[in-house]
C-alpha cells in the first residue's frame, strides 16, 4: 500500500461555524486508486468535509494537501482545475440545460481555444465544441444516459440525475472524485448498477474515489477503507471489517443490529 502515492491528505482539518465545530481535527490520507468511504450519522460533518476539500469553505485550521500542494482555502474553480471534482448531496444540476450540455460544462474546464474564437464563431472554436460534445457523449454512454442526451436535465428521474452528476464531474477529468451520497433515493437495482459503475470509474478510468453514503451494504461492499465521523470528530478508520466490529462505531452510528 505504501508504494502508492498519496493523493489527498487531510491533516487536523478543522472548521468552526460560530460555536459549532462542524469538522474537528480530521486526519486521513487517500492513496492513488483508493475506493474510500466516509460515513457517520446525520450532521456528523461529512458534507462539510467535502466542502473543505473542494474550497466551498475555508478551513479554520489544519491543512488539506492534494498531490502534495495545499488546497485549503483556494477557490473552488481552482481546485477543480487541479483535479478534484464532486457531486452534491442535494442534486445541483443545471436544470434548464440539456443532459449533454450539463456534461459539456464539466468538460469545458479542459478547453483550449480562446473565447474570441467563440464570439466570431471561427473554426477552432467550432471544432473544439464538437470534440467536447463527443467526449461528453462518450461519458454519457458510460453512465448509461446517452439516450437522454437531448432532454432537459430537470426532467430526468431522480436516479438518473444522480448518475448525470457523476458524469458531469467525470467530464472535468479529475484525479480524485468525491461522491456525496450517490445512492440516496435509488432502488436496489439502481444501487447495484451504481456500485458497478463506481468500481469501473476506479478500475477503468483510474480515478481515486472518496464517497459518502448512509447505505451500509453499499459502502461495505464497495469501499476498501473507511473513515467514520461523529460530531465532527474522527472516531474510527480502517477496513470495512474492522469498522463493522468497532464498538465506538456501533455505539455512535451502526447500532447493535448490524
Amino acid at each position: 500500500m505504501s508504494e502508492k502515492p498519496v493523493v489527498l491528505s487531510l491533516d487536523k482539518a478543522t472548521i468552526q461555524f460560530g460555536g459549532l465545530i462542524a469538522v474537528n481535527s480530521v486526519t486521513f490520507d487517500l492513496y492513488k486508486g483508493d475506493l474510500f468511504g466516509l460515513i457517520g450519522p446525520n450532521g456528523a460533518g461529512k458534507t462539510t468535509c467535502f466542502n473543505l476539500i473542494t474550497g466551498v469553505y475555508k478551513p479554520t485550521s489544519g491543512s488539506i494537501k492534494f498531490n502534495g500542494k495545499e488546497v485549503g482555502g483556494l477557490a473552488p474553480a481552482k481546485i477543480a482545475e487541479m483535479g478534484i471534482c464532486r457531486t452534491f448531496q442535494n442534486i445541483r444540476l443545471f436544470p434548464a440545460l440539456s443532459v449533454l450540455e450539463n456534461v459539456v460544462v464539466g468538460a469545458y474546464l479542459r478547453h483550449k481555444t480562446s473565447v474570441y474564437g467563440a464570439y466570431t464563431y471561427l473554426p477552432p472554436a467550432i471544432n473544439e465544441t464538437e470534440s467536447l460534445k463527443k467526449d461528453a457523449m462518450d461519458l454519457l454512454e458510460v453512465m448509461d444516459l446517452a439516450d437522454m442526451a437531448g432532454s432537459r436535465s430537470a426532467d430526468l428521474p431522480y436516479g438518473k440525475q444522480r448518475r448525470l452528476e457523476i458524469a458531469r464531474a467525470m467530464a472535468t477529468k479529475p484525479d480524485l472524485i468525491l461522491l456525496d451520497e450517490p445512492a440516496a433515493g435509488m432502488n436496489p437495482q439502481e444501487k447495484e448498477d451504481l456500485q458497478a459503475t463506481v468500481r469501473r470509474i476506479r478500475d477503468e478510468f483510474g480515478k481515486t474515489v472518496l464517497l459518502i453514503e448512509h447505505d451500509m451494504r453499499f459502502v461495505m461492499g464497495l469501499c476498501e477503507r473507511i473513515v467514520v465521523l461523529d460530531h465532527g470528530e474522527e472516531i474510527a478508520q480502517g477496513s470495512p471489517e474492522a469498522i463493522r466490529s468497532d464498538p465506538k462505531v456501533i455505539e455512535a452510528y451502526l447500532g447493535e443490529a448490524v
Binding site: T47, N51, V56, F88
Partner: protein, 394 residues
C-alpha cells in the same frame, strides 16, 4: 464661542444642525411608512412592488379630494379664511388610508395574484407595468396643471409651534441686545411725547434717530437668535411624528401579537410550508397588501398636508424609489429594518443639503447619496443593516 470656532473651522452652521436633524427625521418617517409597504410585500411574496410609489401618489390625491369636499378647495375658499378642526385632518388621514388599502388590494387581486406561480421576473415586469399604468392613467384623469396643493387652512394648528432652545446665545450679546431695545423704547416714548406736544423743531431728527435705534436693536436681536442653537417644530410636524409612531406601534402589535400577524410571519419565513400547515396564504397576502398600502396612504396624507408638496401623477416616483432603497438598506423583508432605513435615508438627505456649506454644489447630489449609502452598506453587509444574508448551505 464654541460655535464661532466650529463655524470658522468647518464653514458649517452648527446652530441649524438640530433643526436639520428634525427635518430629516420627518422626511425619514414618511420614507419609513412607505418602506414598510415594500418590505412587508417583499417579505411574503419576494416581489418588489414597483407600484407602491403610485399607491402613495393616489393616497395624496385622496387626501386632496377629501380636503376639497370638506370645503377647502380653492373655489370654495376663494381667498378667504376658514376655520378648521382636527377632525378634518383625521378624516383626511382615514380616507387616504382606506383608499390606499383598497387600491393595494385591487392591484394584488388583478395583477399579482394571477402571477403567483410564475417566474419572479414576470411579476416584476407586471409591477413595472402597473406602476406606469397608474402614472399615465392618472395623468389623464387627475388634476395636475398647475399642480394642486392641499390648502394650508385645513390645518387648524398651522401657526402653533414648539420652540426648544438647546444652547443659549452668548450672555454679553443678550445684554447688549436688551440694552439696545430698552434705549430704543425710551427714545420712542420721548418721540411720541414730543409729537403729542407738537414741538416741530426737532421732530424730524428725533424720528430718524429713533428709527436708527430700533434698527440697531432688531439687528442685535437677530444676531442673538442666530447664535442660539435650538429648534422649532410646528404642531403639524409634531403630529406627523406622533401619528407615525402610533401607526408603527399598531403594526408591531398586529405582526407580533395577533394570529394574523403570526400567519404573516409564517408565510414570510416559508411560503410553501405555511400553506401546507393550513395558513390561508391568499388571505394573508391580501391583508399584507392592505396594511402596507394603508401605511403608504398615511404617509401620503401627511406628505401632502404637512409638508404641502404640490401633487402630480408622478409624485410617487422619487419617494417610492427612496423608500425602496430604505427598505433594502434596512434589510428587505425586515420590518424594523425598513423603519431604520427610512429614517436614516431622510436624515442623510437633509445632512447632505446642510453640508453644502463646506462642499458647494453637494446638495445637487442629494438624490444620489441615498444610493451611495446603499451600495456602501450592501458591499459590507450584503443583507442590509438588520437583515441576515442567508448563507446557502451546500
Amino acid at each position: 464661542m464654541l460655535h464661532d470656532t466650529l463655524n470658522l473651522v468647518a464653514g458649517l452652521d452648527f446652530s441649524i444642525l438640530p433643526q436639520q436633524l428634525v427635518n430629516g427625521l420627518l422626511l425619514g418617517s414618511v420614507y419609513a411608512l412607505i418602506a414598510l409597504g415594500y418590505t412587508m410585500v417583499y417579505g411574503v411574496l419576494r416581489l418588489i412592488n414597483f407600484a407602491h410609489g403610485e399607491v402613495f401618489m393616489l393616497g395624496s390625491y385622496a387626501a386632496l379630494f377629501t380636503s376639497w369636499s370638506l370645503g377647502f378647495s380653492p373655489e370654495a375658499l376663494a381667498g378667504q379664511d376658514k376655520p378648521s378642526s382636527w377632525i378634518n385632518l383625521v378624516l383626511m388621514l382615514v380616507v387616504s388610508m382606506v383608499v390606499c388599502g383598497l387600491i393595494g388590494m385591487a392591484i394584488e387581486f388583478l395583477a399579482y395574484r394571477p402571477m403567483r406561480n410564475q417566474p419572479r421576473i414576470a411579476s416584476l415586469i407586471t409591477a413595472i407595468g402597473v406602476s406606469l399604468f397608474i402614472q399615465y392613467a392618472g395623468g389623464l384623469f387627475l388634476p395636475q396643471s398647475p399642480p394642486p396643493a392641499i390648502s394650508e387652512q385645513v390645518n387648524p394648528y398651522r401657526n402653533e409651534k414648539v420652540t426648544v432652545t438647546l444652547a443659549p446665545p452668548p450672555q454679553d450679546l443678550v445684554v447688549q441686545a436688551k440694552d439696545a431695545r430698552a434705549k430704543a423704547d425710551q427714545m420712542d416714548k420721548a418721540y411720541e411725547a414730543a409729537k403729542a406736544k407738537g414741538d416741530p423743531t426737532s421732530l424730524e431728527s428725533m424720528r430718524q434717530e429713533t428709527q436708527a435705534a430700533k434698527n440697531a436693536a432688531s439687528n442685535l436681536e437677530t444676531q442673538v437668535a442666530s447664535k442660539s442653537t435650538g429648534l422649532t417644530v410646528p404642531y403639524g410636524q409634531l403630529g406627523m411624528l406622533l401619528t407615525t409612531l402610533v401607526l408603527m406601534a399598531l403594526l408591531w402589535f398586529i405582526v407580533q401579537k395577533t394570529k394574523t400577524g403570526r400567519a404573516m410571519r409564517a408565510v414570510a419565513h416559508d411560503f410553501d410550508s405555511a400553506a401546507l400547515m393550513g395558513v390561508n396564504v391568499g388571505r394573508i397576502i391580501t391583508i399584507t397588501f392592505v396594511i402596507g398600502s394603508a401605511l403608504a396612504g398615511a404617509g401620503a396624507m401627511m406628505y401632502a398636508t404637512v409638508l404641502r408638496t404640490p401633487l402630480t401623477p408622478f409624485l410617487g416616483v422619487t419617494p417610492g424609489v427612496k423608500a425602496f432603497v430604505a427598505a433594502v438598506l434596512g434589510g428587505i423583508g425586515n420590518i424594523p429594518g425598513a423603519v431604520l432605513g427610512g429614517i436614516l435615508m431622510g436624515i442623510v438627505e437633509t445632512l447632505v443639503v446642510w453640508l453644502d456649506g463646506v462642499v458647494p454644489g453637494l446638495s445637487g447630489y442629494k438624490d444620489a447619496v441615498a444610493f451611495v449609502v446603499l451600495i456602501a452598506v450592501l458591499l459590507f453587509r450584503p443583507g442590509g443593516l438588520l437583515g441576515s444574508s442567508k448563507v446557502e448551505k451546500v
